[in-house]
Structures are given as structure tokens and as C-alpha cells.
Amino acid sequence: SHSQSPEVEGAAGHGLQEQGRLVQKAELVRLSQTLSLVPRLHWLLVEDAEGPTPLVSRLLAASGLLFTHLAVLTPKAQRLREGEPGWVRPRGVEQRNRALDWLRSGGGAVGGEKDPPPAGTRGVVYFADDDNTYSRELFEEMRWTRGVSVWPVGLVGGLRFEGPRVQDGRVVGFHTAWEPNRPFPVDMAGFAVALPLLLAKPSAQFDATAPRGHLESSLLSHLVDPKDLEPRAANCTRVLVWHTRTEKPKMKQEEQLQRQGRGSDPAVEV
């Protein structure tokens, strides 16, 4: 009979400098509201920073969720330069790998639960970027993953949705238009990995030097063959997660005021 399995999840908060990422708090607020609806969820929030920031620490404490707070700074060589479009360098790599490290060997948590789940814990790991939109149903679909499970992702890759093609309960191909020859043409939001599998393959992690779009494949190719992917979401016919992106807010007025020395009170947290 099934006992409830805990679900462990990693969220890579791409927290750049406060000014550069003004939507961070809003994104984390609405993400935490969605996560609050999911039973047996453990939120691993990894900041792109040297240490925990007060904003994120406070938010986590107020969320009422079970969480672990981690932080690791993206090395300079990997950072986006001023004016570079977001897709030029893979983002969140060090942060996701930090979460995997913590799950495997613990240590280094800067807030929340310090100890990783004990060996033998049944769980599943999902990489939940903070600007995507997740339905509650998605988490129940992934919960009973044995190896790696997959499902469609809405609004990604220049399509209404990208997703695996399924026949007789097996993944036989992928509906995708962008770089279809990737070994795993799935978005970060489109798969989850069983915790025991990640622990059994301790060297499986994301490769920061992977070519554009191959980040997911750089992890998954350590873990599973495409034919062994477990299709979810009614044989991959339902979209339960969307690759939404939030506009960078226009700060023209703010910049003007700051030049005049009259910027908005920084003590008011946004």
C-alpha cells in the first residue's frame, strides 16, 4: 500500500543584486502561495548570493512552509554582463547543483532545515524556477516518480507547449521545434527525478559549459535513457505548468529620481 512520500523540491532563486531584480519578492510570494497548497513539500531555495539575504530569509520564515535556505554565488565568469540577453549564459547552474549537493551530503544550509532527508527517504526532486506558473495538480503527477518523469510545459520553445510524445504508455519522441536533436528536449520545468536515483548517481549534476538549451540534457543523460522516461499528465496530454516570464519593470522614473538624489525610500521593501 502506498504511504505518502515526501516531496523535495529545489527552487533556484536567481537573486541578482537588489536593484537588478526588483520582481524577486513578488515572484517568491506567488510561488510560495502555490507551494502552500501542496502537501509534503520541502522547498529548497538557493540564492545567487554569498550568503542569505534578509528579504529572502524573512519571506521564507513567513511562508509557513518547510524549507531549506542555501546560497552560492555564480562565479564571475558565468555571470551575465550588463546588457546581455538572458539566454546567453545558462543561469542557476551553481544554485541547482548546490541543492543537489545538499541533498546528497548535507551541510551548509543558511536557514531552515539543516539536515537533508535521511537515506532511503522516498521523494522526488523538481527544479522550480521562480517565474514559472505551477498548478497544484502538477505536484501530484510527479509525486510517485520511480526514475525520471516527464510532462508537457506550456508557452516554451516558441510553441504553445513542448512535450513528450507518448505511445502505449512510453515516450517515443518529443513535440518540440527548437533544437529537436537535443538528447532530452525538455524544459527544466518539464521533468522530475526520484530522490533515490539522484543519490544512487552521486556525480549527476548540471554542466555549466553545456551548449545553450542542453542544460537539462546534461543532467538527465547521467540518469536515464529517453525511452525509460515515465510519462505523466494523462500521457502528456495535459499542460499543468507554464513557462511564464515576468516583464522587467520599467524604472525610468526611479532612475530619474535617483539622479536627483530623490529615489524611493530604500527602507520600503518591494
Partner: protein, 329 residues
């Protein structure tokens, strides 16, 4: 002997049957109440399956809120009978575009966690769409599904949007309460791409007439807010046209139901309104700056953000549907 027993049995049988039927009638549960039971359970499952009180409230929430404290001190007891919470009515105009379902999903994920919230969803459409109808059926909160199409001549860039839809929400509330004394209620205009913290709802619930608070990431600034002195609004910290009578964003105020019902002609206007004046033109029909109730610690906390979602890139979609299945996004 046998025949006596048989005849006794058959004489008794109808009486036994009658007794059984009467017992069944008595123990049947009373008919369900006419008012819907609250959808919202005050508890969510938190860590390790334990039941946590909902919204213990972080540093941003003010202490001493009656209903919240009650949940904290007696998490397992049934709540004392108390005056019902004022219902919060969220009027959300929505229109069909690729991110619509995603936006409504995350909004519903927020609203489900607010006690006594009634969602009024108004589609910019000539008829209720299947997508929204199906969505609301599973959304897990009390809702009303309306629709009204925007006349084409009003769909030009630069013209105010969602006017007809917000007015439809107001009309529904007025019509619903025309023959009965309204329970206390508060309404606000919840655009579907904004982000709302749960604390915001605690703040707006005590609105007596019209309440106001800061909005993040709007007007080209980190935030806009009413300026408050001695508990009264005295001005506006805003990025655009601070000379407006009410220089505030749609996400920055709430109105008590009573005020809406007492001002039956107050609507969002098309004729004679300039772009950017929607909020101001509406509020001046129902209140004065003097009457405004500042919330969020005298308007110094940002509890709502004017987030905007990027337009989706569908460059790789074929012109004509090629796939063999029809998948809703």
C-alpha cells in the same frame, strides 16, 4: 404451531417496516443550508502532514487580528460562533490570450487561501469560454463567471481597458443585493497579472468606506503610495500626474460593498475620460481624499505588485494546427 407463528410474523411485518422507515426519516441529515458552506478550510497541510493554522502571518501582518489569533491558539477546536467575516469580492477582468490559463491558475492558488473570498471573473467575450468555465469548476473557491465583450471601437491602444468588465462586476453585486440588506463586504479590482500577498486581504477586510495602500513596481517606480499624516491621506507619491484627484493604481484601493450599493450610478466611464484617469474618475464619484482609510502601516508596506507577464513567443507555432490532439494551454 407453525401457522400461528407465520401469521404473527406477517401481522407484525408491516409495523416493523413502518418503524424502520420512520427511523430512517428521523436520522436523515437535514437539507443542506441555502448559503454555501465556505470552500475555504482554515488550515493547510504543512510540514510532515501536520495541520498548521493558515497564515500565521509574518512580520508584515499586524497582531491581534481576531480571526487569525483564534486559529493559532486552538488549532483543533471548532471556531466560536462569531460575526461572519466580511466577504472580499475580487473583480477580475480577463481576456483570451496564451498566458490566460497560467495567470488565472496562479491567481486562484492565491485566492483559495483567503477566507470568505468570492471571485468575480468577467471575460471580455461574447460568451463564456470553455477554458474559463472548466477552469472555474476546478478552481476550488466560490466564484461567479460573467462575460461582456468590449466594443471594438474601444480596443485601440491608449484607451482604458477592462472598463465594461469591471462595470459588469459592479452591476452583478448591485443586482444581487438589491432586495436584501447586504452583509458587510469589500470589493477590489484584481487584475490577473498582478501579484497579491495574503497580508493584503487582511488589510482590506476592515475597510469601512474606501481604503488605500502602496503598490509595487508601478508608475515607473519601485512603488507608488499615498502620503499619510496623522492617519489621513494628504498627497500622493506617484510617478505620473500627481495632480490627479486620486493618483492611485487600480491595485491600490478597495471599496466597501455598502459604498457601492449607496452609489448606484458610480461606474467606470468611457465618455469624457482620459487615459490614466480611470481610477481617479471612479473614486471621485464615491469618496473624498479626506475619507480614505490608509492601510499597510500608514501606507509604508508593499503588499501588492503590479507585475506584468511577458508576451509569449509563439514564433514556432505552425500557421495551421498540425498536431493530432487538441491540447489546452
Amino acid at each position: 404451531m407453525k401457522s400461528v407463528l407465520f401469521s404473527r410474523f406477517f401481522i407484525l411485518l408491516p409495523w416493523i417496516l413502518i418503524v424502520i422507515i420512520m427511523l430512517d426519516v428521523d436520522t436523515r441529515r437535514p437539507a443542506p443550508p441555502l448559503t454555501p458552506r465556505p470552500y475555504f478550510s482554515p488550515y493547510v497541510v504543512g510540514r510532515g502532514g501536520a495541520r498548521l493554522p493558515l497564515r500565521r502571518g509574518g512580520p508584515d501582518s499586524s497582531p491581534g487580528r481576531g480571526w487569525q489569533k483564534r486559529n493559532e491558539s486552538r488549532p483543533q477546536a471548532r471556531p466560536r460562533p462569531e460575526p461572519p467575516l466580511p466577504t472580499i469580492y475580487a473583480i477580475t477582468p480577463t481576456y483570451s490570450r496564451p498566458v490566460q490559463k497560467a495567470e488565472l491558475t496562479r491567481l486562484a492558488n492565491t485566492f483559495r487561501q483567503v477566507a470568505q473570498l468570492h471571485w468575480i471573473l468577467v471575460e471580455d467575450a461574447a460568451a463564456r469560454s470553455e477554458l474559463v468555465s472548466r477552469f472555474l469548476a476546478r478552481a476550488g473557491l466560490p466564484s461567479t463567471h460573467l462575460h461582456v465583450p468590449t466594443p471594438r471601437r474601444y480596443k485601440r491602444p491608449g484607451l482604458p481597458r477592462a472598463t465594461e468588465q469591471r462595470n459588469a462586476g459592479l452591476a452583478w453585486l448591485r443586482q444581487r443585493h438589491q432586495y436584501q440588506r447586504a452583509q458587510p463586504g469589500v470589493l477590489f479590482f484584481a487584475d490577473d497579472d498582478n501579484t497579491y500577498s495574503l497580508e493584503l486581504f487582511q488589510e482590506m477586510r476592515t475597510t469601512r468606506k474606501v481604503s488605500v495602500w502602496p503598490v509595487g513596481l508601478v508608475g515607473g517606480r519601485r512603488y507608488e503610495r499615498p502620503l499619510v499624516e496623522n492617519g489621513k491621506v494628504v498627497g500622493w507619491y506617484t510617478g505620473w500626474r500627481a495632480d490627479r484627484p486620486f493618483a492611485i493604481d487600480m491595485a491600490g484601493f478597495a471599496v466597501s460593498l455598502q459604498v457601492i450599493l449607496s452609489n448606484p450610478k458610480a461606474v467606470f466611464k468611457r465618455r469624457g475620460s482620459q487615459p490614466g484617469m480611470q481610477e481617479s474618475d471612479f473614486l471621485k464619484q464615491i469618496t473624498t481624499v479626506e475619507e480614505l482609510e490608509p492601510k499597510a502601516s500608514n501606507c509604508t508596506k508593499v503588499l501588492v505588485w503590479h507585475t506584468r507577464t511577458e508576451k509569449v513567443n509563439l514564433a514556432n507555432e505552425p500557421k495551421y494546427r498540425l498536431d493530432t490532439v487538441k491540447i489546452e494551454v
